[in-house]
Amino acid sequence: MSHVGSPRPGVIGAGTGLPPATGLAPATPPRAEPGPFRAFWNRLTARRSAIVGLVIVVALILMAVFADWIAPYDPIATDWGAIRSSPDWAHPFGTDEVGHDVLSRIVFGARASLGAGLTSVALAVALGLPFGLIAGYAGGILDMLIMRLTDALLAIPFLILAIALAAFLGPSLTNAMVAIGLSATSTFVRLTRAQVQAVAAEEFIEAARAVGNPPWRIALRHILPNIVPAILVQATLTIAAAIIAEASLSFLGLGQQPPEPSWGSMLNVAKNFLEQAPWMAIWPGASIFLAVLAFNLLGDGLRDALDPRQRT
């Protein structure tokens, strides 16, 4: 079936990088190729800041997942004897206004806060990516429609949208996530579209058309993988924003419902006891900072690691 005639030895030699004429070079066989993921991983871990980010993110996620084992107390168990007591051996991070152990709430709060960040961003990406892809690649009337809709959504102030959505869906963490996610969607549509348009202008897309790829395959197989890094970076930035947004919605009573903890709502309550019980604010504040920092470091690292020009 193969149409290839017997290749010339010289031509073969050219490809292997072996000198055809002398046998002098050490005949190094090509090293075992690292798979794409392995290569990506090597690039990622080659950066110290990315490792720091990754370690913190993983630690936070583990903390959220294994909160039941890590937290010294039930985060919603109240201790009437210890209302707003300052940090001591029994409660290393102190207790809050109804006698919850702050440390346990920080540990469990990671679920809500990281969850808010990750879920809302996942939603925004899940919605924004396909629409952005369609708008950017199909163009024409579809693009026009999607972009007008996106513009309209962007033009509505985020908080109004979020408040209205949260109020409509009923205040709960899940719904706050949905609201934050929906509000962030238009940014992703825009970003995806811009990225798609940039990638679609690349020559390899033309090359893909030249071998007869149908449009849907170009969009999914050729464009999509190339816009993922930009989306990922934006996503990690948005996670940070979403954690803060959850805090803001908590401020308005639309976030995590009491007594379940989230860092944002803890911070929100803590502001009423700023001088009496500063520890109520310090820990959730530090946790948010740590998470934001970690996600951003990781995001920067991912961007670099996904850049094919970066060598391992």
Binding site: I76, A77, T78, W80, I83, E97, V98, G99, A167, G170, P171, L252, G253, L254, Q257, P258, P259, V269, K271, N272, F273, L274, E275, Q276
Partner: protein
């Protein structure tokens, strides 16, 4: 000179932005703060909750309790220079009754007509005897507006309200400030020392307090009890307080399909599971007054036969077992403000020990109201600002098909008691009626009453002459800034 003028401006931090500054249309508690400075009432409320003369100097009730004759203070002027006479009083009361959208109509609905007797005397004729009437006149229903201004402005009266109080309206920037200025022809002008009042709505309690501490305010209302230590520690600040007329309660909705709270035994168990003192301690540093009725235990109308019960978890469990429910899940709606969720959390923790599983639902005010109206809630942490007459704390909540009866409570015996309470001003007869009402309500528990707030004001030591009143309003007479 500018210094002293500045010094005599009282900056008063309010908890929310008042609504329409029209005594007929106003509906928020906060608006009453402003009216207290701007609009005098026919009668004021005394420290013992009895009416005392203000615009009306004397009054008498006919034998059948259906005609009230009032005599006005002579020489009182509205801010626009108009005279306050019987005709003006008649106009104001009729306006309360007839203006479309009037919020006062319900308060004085039994009034049939108002008749002018002479220049300063008028008669109010009732359809039926109505005991709370005088109490209503101590509030917005008793506020007199200038007929000329009211005619001219119609339902836009609130843009430039004209009353007969110590301070007259200057300007209002929504959500920023309301400015009043001393009315130089005020009938009691010697008691007024302040030159201007600036009301500044600052919803967040912490922010309100920091503003006071930073010298941006001279006086603020509704200080959070947990902030008390901060204020008492500060030598530049003082605190005033009084127990409110209203109540904090949990309203149950027995009509909610499939809800455990339909069974009175479950409601009783819930009640028994709550330790009101502990609740008070935890959330309010013990400053509030635990309660179990529509008025506080210190109120003259408190039904002494029903004192506050002790927490009894065992009995609560037994009741639940009797009702045949295990671990009932109860959704408790609370406002998403600073303290309601805290109260909810404590209740949640307390009732858990008795086997309840309370789920908190913190929502905004409008959503909560909507759920209450539509009957989609299950339990609702509800607060009522209170009225001078106990009728204002009961009738609309417990009588059949009344607007605030979120519990959909409808009991013939209770209705009869409420009818009796309204029908006479005689203290003994009314006390009996309250007892009859309590017999039913304490058993049925459509609401369980939790506590009565203490209202705190914080103010600079520069402010003198401040006296707390039980209706939670500030009397500006005698206030002085040094």
């Amino acid at each position: 000179r500018a210094q002293t003028a500045q010094a005599q401006t009282l900056r008063f931090g309010l908890m929310e932005d008042p609504d329409a500054l029209d005594p007929t249309l106003a509906r928020t508690f906060t608006s009453r703060m402003v009216f207290a400075a701007m609009c005098d009432k026919l009668v004021d409320i005394g420290p013992d909750l009895k009416p005392v003369p203000q615009l009306a100097t004397s009054w008498s009730l006919s034998e059948d309790e259906k005609t009230l004759t009032m005599t006005l203070r002579p020489g009182v002027l509205f801010h626009d220079g108009e005279k306050l006479d019987a005709a003006a009083a008649k106009y104001s009361i009729e306006r309360h009754l007839k203006l479309p959208g009037s919020q006062r109509r319900g308060e004085i609905a039994p009034i049939d007509r108002v008749e002018v007797v002479d220049d300063l005397t008028f008669k109010i004729v009732l359809k039926t005897p109505f005991a709370p009437l005088m109490a209503q006149f101590t509030d917005r229903a008793g506020m007199m507006v200038s007929p000329k201004a009211a005619e001219r402005l119609g339902d836009k009266f609130s843009t430039a309200p004209v009353c007969a109080g110590p301070f007259k309206f200057v300007e209002r920037v929504p959500q920023d400030r309301i400015v009043l200025e001393r009315f130089d022809d005020y009938w009691n002008k010697d008691a007024i020392h302040l030159k201007r009042i600036e009301f500044r709505p600052i919803p967040d309690g912490t922010v309100r307090l920091t503003n006071l501490r930073a010298g941006q305010l001279d006086l603020l209302e509704r200080l959070t009890p947990t902030d008390l230590p901060q204020v008492t520690r500060d030598p530049k600040l003082k605190v005033g307080s009084t127990i409110e007329l209203g109540f904090q309660s949990i309203v149950f909705n027995p009509n909610k399909a499939g809800s455990a709270v339909a069974d009175p035994r479950v409601r009783a168990a819930f009640d028994l599971a709550i330790d009101r003192n502990a609740l008070n301690q935890v959330v309010f540093s013990g400053e509030f007054l635990p309660g179990n009725q529509w008025v506080s235990p210190k109120h003259p109308a408190y039904v002494k036969e029903y004192p506050i019960g002790k927490r009894d978890v065992a009995k609560a469990k037994a009741l639940l077992a009797e009702a045949g429910v295990t671990k009932p899940v109860i959704n408790l709606t609370v406002y998403a403000n600073n303290e309601a969720p805290q109260v909810g959390q404590v209740i949640q923790a307390m009732t858990r020990e008795a086997g309840f599983d309370v789920k908190l639902q913190a929502t905004d005010f409008t959503t909560a109201l909507d759920a209450a109206d539509k009957g989609t809630f299950e339990a609702y942490l509800y607060s009522w600002s209170g009225r001078p007459d106990p009728d204002g704390n009961t009738f609309s909540f417990l009588a059949c098909k009344t607007p605030l009866n979120y519990a959909r409570y409808c009991d013939p015996e209770a209705d009869a008691a409420l009818g009796a309470e309204r029908a006479t001003v005689d203290p003994n007869q009314r006390a009996q009626a309250w007892k009859r009402l309590a017999d039913r309500v304490m058993a049925d528990r459509p609401l369980i009453y939790l506590f009565h707030r203490k209202l705190f004001w914080a103010y600079t030591t520069k402010l003198t002459g401040f006296t707390p009143y039980p209706d939670g309003l500030v009397r500006f007479n005698g206030l002085k800034l040094n």
